[in-house]
Amino acid sequence: MKPRRFDYVRPESADEAVAVLAEYCDAASVLAGGQSLMAMLNLRLAEPAVLIDIASLKELDYIRIAGNMIEVGAAVTQNRLKGWPELAGKLPLLAAALPFVGHFQTRNKGTVCGSIAHADPSSEIPLVLATLGGEVVLRSHRGTRVLAAADFQRGALTTAREPDELIIAVRFPVQPTARVAFREVARRHGDFAIVAVAACVEDRDTVRIGIGGIADRPAARSARIDSAADATDIFESLACELEGYDDLHASARLRRDLLRRVGPVVVEEALRCAA
């Protein structure tokens, strides 16, 4: 199908984008890479009156180290971040997860912040942001505020972004460890994750676990794991707590079963990594 009619606006600066957004608020959608939004427009699942295109804003196309955070601007594509030479050293979990984000062709255009904004429950980048405890930087004509990942994503495709706020950047805390692992189960590589599991060894036996695809938003927990039995128990209780959901790709029960099986494997993989 084809999109419904909309007014198209391509601002020349982030300030201009924020001003246009303040004017239209709920009636506007922000277009960055468009790898979810354009599909939704074509299917008429989204029918904004105004489309604000920020994809070509050079000032938002940056990756910078800010203290102990890596800040990624709203125009940075997933493949650009994937190819950033410092990624594996500073953000090994993100380096492990990015190859699972869509396909080569969609990562060429899809943005890191766009994945965060879209907030799909099975999406990898929000999962990594939640697992690492990252932040989202929002700007409006009223000012700038920074939200923790856990406060930003409220549910499936639902975030705390106010209608006049533009996501300017996301910040991932630099990881002190290279002991990470990431796996997901999907029908085919690049498809929506039925279940995704991330693990980072925090210190000695504490492991930070992130789970996507099973609840309406990513779940992150820190757990002490001394033995394989510990890992099995933790994922058993997480499967019960998160419940899962039924959709076209999998039943809630399959999601729980996959989590029970994949979870301990990912934790073991992270623990096996050389310190």
């Binding site: 199908m1 084809k2 999109p3 419904r4 009619r5 909309f6 007014d7 198209y8 606006v9 391509r10 601002p11 020349e12 201009e16 246009v20 468009g34 790898q35 354009m38 599909a39 427009l41 074509n42 299917l43 009156a49 489309l51 295109d53 994809a55 070509s56 190859p99 869509g102 396909h103 080569f104 062709q105 969609t106 060429n108 255009k109 085919r188 590589h189 690049g190």
Partner: protein, 167 residues
């Protein structure tokens, strides 16, 4: 600030396969439809129109993207490359196209333009990919008749061929 109102038709211009082209379109017109219906460049195919099948893959400033997830107005001032650019003006196929022909990498040919454009970008970045890397890129395309084995063989042959030329 560029603005196109919903009922307005605006002039859109960009470089297509090295040649300046332009035409009138609404803000909502997809790049695929602009190429096919306004410019008349029908090499780029349209399949699912939501970014899944990959038929419409074209290069924008050398980077492989979904034409159906791009608005025509977003291509303004950019360099768009489509499958029409691959063969030489006399019709001689390029190395990748020849490999597709030799390895039976197409049957109905509907998905082929997109796959060729994906690998045109990918092989420029990674001239000697492994079979796994080829399959990873190919996962962004759907083929409903030939299957993928011939396509993988063709890309392997095309990249091996350039390896021999390089040495």
């Amino acid at each position: 600030m560029r603005r196109v109102n919903r009922d307005e038709r605006t002039r859109i211009g960009f470089t297509l396969n090295g040649r300046a082209v332009s035409g009138d379109a609404e803000s909502r017109m997809l790049l695929t439809d602009f190429l096919r219906h306004v410019i008349g460049a029908t090499g780029t195919h349209v399949g699912c129109e939501h970014g899944v099948c990959g038929c419409c893959t074209v290069l924008i400033d050398g980077v492989a993207v979904r034409g159906c997830l791009t608005l025509a107005v977003q291509a303004e001032g950019r360099a768009v490359t489509t499958v029409e650019a691959l063969a030489s003006p006399d019709g001689a196929l390029n190395a990748l196209q020849q490999a597709f022909q030799q390895h039976h990498a197409l049957q109905c040919g509907f998905c082929t333009p997109g796959i060729l454009m994906s690998f045109t970008d990918y092989l420029a970045r990674n001239p000697h990919p492994t079979e796994d890397e080829i399959r990873e890129v190919l996962s962004g395309h759907l083929c409903r008749c030939t299957g993928y084995a011939g396509i993988v063989a063709a890309v392997l042959a095309a990249s091996g061929g350039s390896a021999q030329q390089a040495s």
